[in-house]
């Protein structure tokens, strides 16, 4: 098909298998290492298997970005199937993935690859991938995606700080979150940065706070509830949001292994794109 392009992303975008198939989105896996055992995120290990293993592990797994070669291999293959690629990835502030994609793209000569730093992660990136895949042309897809990059936001309630601390990813949020008490942090991702927005001791205090934070950003054009091994909590939030925001289609998504390593099981959150 003339002028046809494909969408590439990485496994942190948490694109569901259904979307992957329907929109023909290529997913390049990051790696998860339990000691010396390396797994390709979402390929060698399902999300469920991952969290089971995480619960049993005495040390946190480490995660690593795909190599430029991993991207080059995918782009190379796609260059024989279509006319170009829009490659959308996790924020460069949080991972080296997007840089690897850029380097990989340069090695495939004469094949146009637009690498976009989403400055976000998880379901937000999945939303961008789906929008791009629905665009009529590659140029239109790039424009649609870039237009939405500043409007995305993630709000996440972690069940515990343990995983974030163990992974050393607390960063700027540490002043507020390092605590003897088991507090549940509410984190926000805006423009690539993770920031601590609030902290609570109980889920019942947290959910209204998440909804309140979302309310400040209304209206939204895309909204998903996401969770790491907490489908019931996610469903109750989804039901609540559907009641409060009847005009918005509230989707549900599952957090994958790489992000799951850092947020830990039990995390729930909201991913959305504000309306312009």
């Amino acid at each position: 098909m003339a002028g046809r392009f494909r969408v590439v992303t990485d496994s942190t975008s948490d694109v569901s298998p259904q979307w992957r198939e329907r929109y023909r989105i290529e997913v390049v896996p990051l790696r998860v290492l339990f000691g010396s055992d390396a797994y390709r995120d979402g390929v060698d290990m399902s999300s469920g298997e991952f969290f089971t293993r995480l619960a049993r592990a005495d040390r946190l797994p480490t995660t690593s970005a795909p190599s430029p070669g991993d991207f080059a291999t995918v782009y190379e293959r796609l260059s024989r199937e279509c006319d170009g690629v829009v490659s959308i990835h996790i924020s460069g502030e949080l991972s080296g993935t997007v840089e690897a994609a850029r380097v990989g793209a340069r090695s495939v000569e004469g094949f146009p690859v637009d690498v976009i730093d989403s400055r976000c992660l998880t379901i937000c990136v999945a939303f961008l991938c789906r929008l791009a895949a629905e665009a009529p042309t590659r140029e239109a897809a790039v424009k649609m995606v870039e237009d939405r990059v500043p409007r995305q936001r993630i709000l996440a309630l972690l069940d515990t700080l343990k995983f974030l601390e163990m992974g050393g990813r607390i960063g700027r949020a540490s002043a507020m979150l390092g605590s003897v008490l088991d507090v549940k942090p509410i984190l926000g991702v805006t423009d690539g940065h993770v920031a601590a927005l609030d902290r609570v001791r109980t889920r019942s205090r947290a959910i209204p706070r998440l909804v309140e934070l979302l309310r400040r950003d209304l209206p939204v054009e895309r909204l998903a509830v996401m969770h790491a091994q907490a489908p019931e909590a996610a469903e109750s939030i989804r039901v609540q949001l559907t009641q409060e925001l009847p005009d918005v289609d509230v989707e549900t998504g599952e957090i994958g292994a790489v992000l799951g390593t850092h947020v830990g099981p039990g995390a729930v959150g909201l991913a959305y794109i504000k309306r312009s």
């Binding site: 540490s174 002043a175 605590s179 008490l181 001791r201």
Partner: protein, 540 residues
């Protein structure tokens, strides 16, 4: 009565209260180890005379003013704060007077009682307030008599106080139930009797020896650079900028205290060049009540230096908060201190139950915090009044959050957001504090009957949100009963803060008992290390 006689009377009251401290403490009506009234009053009185002791001022106004100021700074517990207000009322009544006639002395006692009433939101009869007023009335009656002297006025005040103290159980049911008189009122009676004793002694001595000589000054070794002069004054003006004045004064000395409002600012500084301070300050407004004291004749600095040296000071904050709000909490117990610190509290005032910190203690913490706006969490009802005095003696803005228990304080701090405004934070913190239920568990230190709960000494007792609700023979049963009464099954999380007297096995047993009765609750066990309460439970 002149300044030196007042000084001797105050020292006499201190000595006499010191001798009766434990007696006053024993008048505690609650079965829980509480902020001890005798100790609180004694510590407040000690601060009141700290500088009076070294003053040679002959004017009664000067001695009264020093005592009023220092007692406010040193006020501990609610009884201490009321005592400081009594001093304040006395000082304002004798303003500008160098000597008091017996009539003026009686007036000053009456004004002292009035000031104490004004300081309390809802005055309760049968307390120190009633006793202060009766003392004033009796003094006024005696002052009308022919041949009245300071001693006869004081004698009448003490007798009036004693009679009022005896009546307190008829005015307050809680005293009648416990079979005691009011502790604060009794403390005041003791103070008045102590004053009287010293006056009578002095009169007897005078008759024998003639004029009294000033007490010998302690000789102090001056450090090489010298300490300069303790310089104090008031600035009257319009639109005074307290922060700017403090900044200007701070450059000229140390131990700087600049507090007040746009019309009246109080300045206190230790400087080597008082004239420079005075010249500079007169540019802001007109000066009043100027007092320059040679530091070499004062103990003060030594104590301050010692205090500063032992204080590690705040560790520099990792990142300055964008909202410019600092947090100060009153708490004790190594585990609880660590919890408050880790939640981002900038300064801790060690204290709480039965160790009520003074206004000065809290002021120092507030001054140490690198923010101009400070939220102060007393975390104990008996610390509340002293905490509320801090705002009046600092140039910073101090908001006291009504936290009556440690769990309330923790909930409030958890709700604090570094980027939100003061008003947003205050309302969120207060809401969070109110959402938490507190159960404090200890053993009764005396028999008692209150809130229709009968307690025998040694019983396990549980205070739900500061009220004695349950008593029994073992921890598990009493806690389970208290939690049932709260409907704990509808909550999510119970945090157990273990005190220094609770063993690990106690904590595990309690945790298991709670889990058994409330299987849906999440349980977190933390080492609080607090005294008096083996367990403090936070239910949310």
């Amino acid at each position: 009565m002149n300044g030196q006689l007042l000084k001797q009377a105050l020292l006499g009251s201190l000595a006499w209260l010191g001798a009766h401290q434990e007696e006053v403490n024993r008048l505690n009506v609650f079965p829980v180890p509480d902020g001890d009234t005798g100790t609180n009053m004694l510590l407040t009185l000690q601060s009141a005379v700290e500088h009076v002791r070294d003053s040679q001022a002959s004017e009664v106004s000067k001695i009264a003013r020093i005592a009023a100021h220092d007692s406010l700074m040193g006020a501990r517990g609610n009884s201490g704060v009321i005592l400081s207000q009594i001093f304040r009322g006395f000082a304002s009544a004798v303003q500008d007077k160098s000597e008091l006639t017996p009539l003026e002395l009686a007036d000053a006692f009456e004004e002292a009682a009035n000031a104490a009433y004004r300081a309390v939101n809802k005055p309760t009869e049968g307390t120190i307030l009633t006793v202060a007023r009766q003392a004033g009335r009796s003094a006024a009656g005696a002052a009308q008599q022919r041949g009245a002297t300071s001693a006869t006025v004081l004698k009448a005040a003490a007798a009036g106080a004693r009679a009022a103290v005896e009546r307190t159980p008829t005015q307050l049911r809680i005293l009648r139930d416990a079979g005691v008189v009011d502790a604060g009122g009794y403390g005041l009676q003791i103070m008045l009797e102590g004053m009287l004793r010293s006056l009578e002694e002095i009169e007897a001595e005078l008759a024998k020896l003639g004029p009294i000589r000033p007490a010998a000054q302690a000789r102090l070794d001056l450090p090489e650079e010298g300490w300069g002069y303790c310089t104090e004054f008031l600035i009257h003006g319009e639109g005074l900028d307290v922060d700017r004045i403090r900044e200007a004064i701070a450059a000229l000395g140390n131990s700087v205290m600049v507090a007040g409002d746009s019309e009246l600012v109080k300045v206190h500084v230790h400087t080597d060049d008082p004239s420079h301070v005075i010249t500079l300050s007169s540019r802001f407004g007109s000066l009043d009540k100027l007092n320059v004291g040679d530091m070499s004749t004062q103990h003060r600095r030594i104590r301050e230096e010692a205090g500063v040296a032992s204080d590690p000071g705040p560790s520099p904050p990792v990142e300055r908060r964008s909202n410019g709000i600092g947090l100060v909490a009153v708490v004790s117990g190594p585990g609880l201190v660590e919890i408050f610190r880790s939640l981002g509290v900038d300064a801790i005032v060690e204290g709480g139950q039965s160790m009520n910190p003074s206004t000065q203690d809290m002021l120092q913490a507030v001054e140490r915090v690198p923010y101009d706006e400070v939220v102060l969490l007393p975390n104990n009802k008996n610390v509340m009044m002293a905490a509320k005095q801090v705002d009046g003696v600092t140039g910073k803005t101090v908001k006291v959050l009504e936290t009556h228990t440690v769990p309330q304080g923790i909930a409030a701090v958890v709700a604090f957001r570094p980027e939100a405004s003061a008003s947003e934070n205050l309302s969120a913190m207060l809401a969070a504090a109110r959402h938490v239920q507190t159960i404090q568990v200890t053993r009764a230190i005396r028999d008692s009957r209150s809130n229709s709960v009968t307690v025998k000494k040694g019983d396990v007792i549980a205070l739900t949100n500061d009220r004695l609700r349950h008593a029994g023979k073992d921890y598990y049963a009493v806690v389970t009963e208290a939690m049932n009464a709260l409907g704990a099954g509808n909550y999510e999380l119970v945090t157990i803060y273990c005190g220094q007297d609770a063993t690990e096995a106690d904590a595990e047993g309690l945790s298991a008992a709670i889990q058994g009765s409330f299987p849906g609750l999440e349980i977190e066990v933390q080492s609080g290390g607090q005294e008096h309460y083996p367990f403090i439970l936070s239910i949310e």
